[in-house]
Symmetry: C2
Subunit: 341 residues, 2 copies
């Protein structure tokens, strides 16, 4: 009864032609007569024929599919980058296979393996936690583009990032221009992105001759890490906080408010990333916004280029971020709260 999926052969016999001609017709070859093409298309339609991607991939030795690994599907940053990847890739007739390793290097590696079994032609890593060795091994086997991380340069592996150092400096510029001096940086722990942003902060403070106020509190990338770091930072009586990312900044704001201070009247807070969420009315966070979708689009472009010419040297793109001023930053309070000089 339920003769499983119709194949190209079923279409062929229904249209009264050979399987080869069906293949030709369905892939849009110009050598097929109008008459046959029509008959074949009709037959395919009637039978509900659908290409078998596995068979095709086996035959042409390509899968027309890219693998995408995102660090963590819960962090909106990655969804927004992914958007850019998807739209670009789709336009070029590629499919994507999406996996997430949930910040676990071992799982990430396993997931990449699975992707490879599906014969993906390229791999886009939207942030990752792989060790340099593993990453090198992966990149040797398959064209790879990393987004958001550029600390492990590998030959013929492209990297697409925002410039974290300049971005962090912009944050300091913004706060300094409002009149802030005691600006504390809540860093995100031991990872390359946090390091770069902390460094940009330090440079920015120097530029504004505020180096002697420069203070970095080590925290993390999560809400609660931002909360704790802010509590610590408040001891130092700052007027502004530059927080390593938007999520942590939201935690920091909670700490400030719990301490009986208000944002931005007593303390200004600026985040980093520019997730859509930060724009929600009840959050309304000033932040250094990365062009997230653009980051994704660019990564996809680089990948497609590399598939064309696999041997070209590695490209390293850095896109500019900009400050989006919302409701969590303002001028410092006219009268200092404490007796600090």
């Amino acid at each position: 009864m339920s003769a499983s999926r119709p194949t190209i052969l079923d279409v062929a016999s229904r249209a009264g032609v050979s399987k080869s001609l069906v293949s030709l017709a369905l892939s849009g070859s110009p050598k097929v007569s109008e008459k046959s093409r029509l008959r074949i298309e009709r037959a395919a339609q009637d039978l509900g024929y659908r290409l078998n991607a596995a068979a095709r991939s086996l035959a042409i030795q390509k899968s027309r599919t890219l693998g995408v690994l995102v660090l963590d599907l819960h962090n909106p940053v990655f969804a927004e980058i992914l958007d850019g990847v998807q739209t670009e890739v789709r336009q070029h007739g590629f499919s994507t296979m999406l996996v997430s390793g949930g910040e676990d290097p071992t799982l990430e590696h396993r997931q990449i393996n699975t992707l490879q079994e599906f014969q993906i032609e390229g791999l886009i890593l939207i942030s990752h936690r792989l060790s340099a060795d593993v990453l090198k091994a992966v990149a040797r086997e398959i064209p790879t583009v990393t987004v958001t991380r550029d600390d492990i340069p590998i030959s013929r592996m492209d990297m697409v990032c925002n410039d974290d150092i300049s971005g962090a400096r912009l944050a300091v510029d913004h706060l300094a221009s409002l009149g802030h001096e005691r600006i504390v940086c809540l860093s995100g722990g031991d990872n390359p992105v946090s390091h770069a942003r902390a460094r940009g902060y330090s440079e920015g403070m120097e530029d504004h001759a505020l180096a002697h106020y420069s203070t970095i509190v080590s925290g993390g990338l999560t809400d609660s890490a931002g909360y704790r770091a802010a509590q610590e930072a408040l001891q130092g009586d700052p007027t502004a906080l530059f927080v390593v990312n938007d999520i942590a900044a939201m935690g920091a704001i909670a700490a400030v408010e719990e301490a009986g201070l208000s944002v931005p009247e007593d303390i200004s807070v600026i985040g980093y990333d520019g997730i859509r969420l930060a724009g929600l009315r009840s959050i309304n966070l000033t932040t250094v916004a990365q062009p997230l979708a653009e980051l994704g689009r660019l990564a996809a472009t680089r990948m497609l280029e590399r598939l064309d010419q696999p041997q070209r040297p590695a490209q390293h793109d850095q896109v500019a971020s900009r400050v989006v001023v919302r409701g969590t930053t303002g001028p410092p309070p006219a009268h200092p709260r404490s007796s600090a000089s």
Copy 2:
């Protein structure tokens, strides 16, 4: 030079056995001698052999892969459901292919087509915008489970949902037990989920003999829709708002605060969904929490069961939600703000 990927044949010749034995050994058959198994594993290791999923899928006529469509990767609800799906599915040796249609029915349909080309064995829809006709056509072709929506019953298609009606009643119970009477429902517009929650609200109001206070304001599922709906609702001088989902609740809070009122002292707000975000310190939203990961896990289980016995009747699971009390609900103000009786 670069002899492409090693195949099972390369492994066979290196281990000095036949390709069949390699296939047997690598799939863990017990009929392979210890000696051969070891030699084969070594050879595979040395060559960096990796299974070709396309070839395998072609040979066994199965892909060991499930397709997953999520409504929108930006809404954290779906990422959290997805977690549950992934962990369960992975344990059973299946891979998943994840796509998102961005709330666009046409794109969703296209994406499902792509999934089908990859010979997925089953399809899990984590919310969708498909029309009944399209959904029916899809479900006829391939085992399908819908999560979050149960308004289109189709034979042999399983559905996994939370009970929106009971959940909404719980929200009313919570507010009523705090002493609230003028409770307004901010609904989410014209979709099945919003309708069910509004209905639960009405029933709950009746249970507490508050039916005469029952007011439903039509809004939407987004932050700004919640904001606008709250503005409208405030005209009626309520003491509490039940908002259709967490994201819209966040918008509603912003509207309340902008009106010079505070949450929860003047007005209590309760959301629905229980996204992780709602627990962030700076948000701290009281909400009706669905067991999101559990929803996903259950959907995966139903799918795996159905693959075992394709003909069994459709299952309809409803899991219970519960109120998570946080900082946005409290007793109503002792003295009414306005001159309303």
